[in-house]
Amino acid sequence: MAPANNPVLMVTLPPDWPGGFWWHLLVFSVIILAFVLSMVIGFIYFERRVMARMQARLGPNRVGPFGLLQAIADAVKVLLKEDIVPAKADKFVHLLAPIVAFAPALMIFAVIPFQSGAALADLNVGILYIFAVASVTSVGIFMAGWSSGNKYSIIGAMRDIAAIVSYEIPMVLAIAGVVLVAGSLSLNQIVMTQDIPFILVQPLGFLLFFLAGCAEINRSPFDLLEADSEIVAGFHTEYSGMKFAMFYLVEYAEAVAMSVIISTLFLGGWRGPWLPPWLWVIVKTGAVFFLMVWVRTTMPRARIDQMMAFAWKFLLPLALINLLVTGVEILFLPVTIPWTMVVINIVIALALIPLWSKIFRSGWSKVEV
């Protein structure tokens, strides 16, 4: 099989790439696995240290230099724990759930470019693929909640389904603006078009996507499905040992995935001066993740009806307006001067957000149950 135009991957491999399709698959699978796992370990350490710093304490600093090996020590501990399956659990589903949740979180990385064309598959429908795959995780989470036979778990699982159903829509609509500007669904193509990072061209889109993304991966202030002060641990209340570790891994793998997607779509992905491209990916991902940690340490948790209202009455209308404005701009503005678009969009974002917050706050956010 010739590497040059592979029908499955639809990617033009670098001319000096050794071997064919299978070789490419193997190398990138290993790279992605290594990348995701090391990023997860790094992010766990990063989050714990940053949170500790923000909370006036020290964080892990005993295992290894600066506590760097803490995540590994925790992993070892969790592997040695007894695997408890509740008596009333649906045993097969209980076993399957963490796997169903974990696989999609890994699969997202297949289309993330680490430098020009360096992705497992540069699909021309990359963004569509990401959303299709990412929502499968919820199935795993719901399976976990259902099969545990615990009321807290099922409440957590129900909340997750409600969140996913609502937040997919503003999320996809927020991205539609980016797709319009870039003129492609392929992630690599989107990075190539970002001579100006899209965070400037689509400031509103970035904000909406970030918020919806936080909800999608269940991070604070939308971490309702495992709200520890309300429903103990939500869907994974009954999980222990390796299965619990899988869910923990999913949580962070999703956070890494969301940060990578945001940095690819809005921050220019692998592009940047001086540093090698893959390092830029990591730096930008870390920056986005830092924002998530910051929100987590600061914000209280929203209630389920407030969260729904936020999706349908705040994010969705703004995403639609953003899409409309972007469409009109692309129709009427000369493509050669993207800076006009930047200025107009920033002004619109600055005007719309306070306005909508005001409307939202003045009683519109109320939901009658």
């Binding site: 971490d223 520890d228 600061t298 209280p300 948790r301 389920i304």
Partner: protein
Amino acid sequence: MALRTEPFALNIGPAHPSTHGVFRMRATLDGEVIVDLEPVFGYLHRGVEKLAEQRTYTGIIPLTDRLDYLASMSNNMAYCMAVEKLTEIKVPERALYLRVILSELQRIASHLVATGAFLNDCGAFMTPILYMLREREKILDLLEMVSGQRLTYNYMRIGGVSQDVPAEFMPALQKFMAQMPRFIGEYEQLLKENEVLIARSRGVGILSKEMAINSGASGPVLRASGVQWDLRKADPYAIYERFEFDIPTGEMGDSYDRYRVRIEEMRQSLRIIEQAVKQIPDGPVKAEVPHLFHPPRGEVYVHIEAPKGELGFYVVSDNSITPYRFHVRAPSLINLTALREMLIGWKIADAIIIFGSIDICMGEVDR
């Protein structure tokens, strides 16, 4: 196809992250909405009231430490005042001032835990409570300086306090007093106007004025409902009539008001301490009271404004060295009276917040 739904029962507690001990709420839920609720307590019952009947009057003081263990000083003070009233012992001036200073410090410490835990229940992941515990540690350092303990102080005695404060206490207190207003400002900056917090707690768990009074609520819970009732002003005990301070009250009686009232009360406590430190005289700190003594036959009820509300001790003496009957009016327990009415119709997430905003201590509820 019509789907059939039915309410289901959910046990929140006794082992649950947000029940502040071993409280249990047996909630009947319709989806996430609470349709019925039955508070269950008694998991921490130790029989303090019966135990006290076997102990000498001085020996009861450590038992009172273990009621509301977040405010041991206040418990000590209320109990000692009850016995002093029964036996008609006159407490030296300096001891009275020390009692006021320490119990106001204790109030700040207790409110810090209360607001921190409340915000933690709201889902602000550990940040506010850690900031507040940081200052609570400083208060505990001060209290350790005078009593040698950090939780169960056993410091006050019948007729005064066990010993005078060490020389380094006053400078350390001054230093703390200088820092604290800034820290209270810091807590306010953190979340006072946070959109999510206001959405979560404004108008949630309203305890109306009438309901608050009828259910016997006291302390910040009562004051947040707009009733200006503080025993320090309404029935001044110790030397509180010598100090100037305000009684902060809320308007709506919701969870947010209860949170605000506690923050304001910390400021007022600081004001009281400041005045007390200026006025404190030198002199003895303990009246001459024998270890074993026979109070005259009779009964006495003394109440003080503890951090969580009206803390009362009812002691009946039969002229022996142990009380004939010993009863505690625990504010935490009585503030829970209206819990069911406050919770019905709200969601589980709100239930946790409302419950957290009442601020109970299980050691006191179950006794």
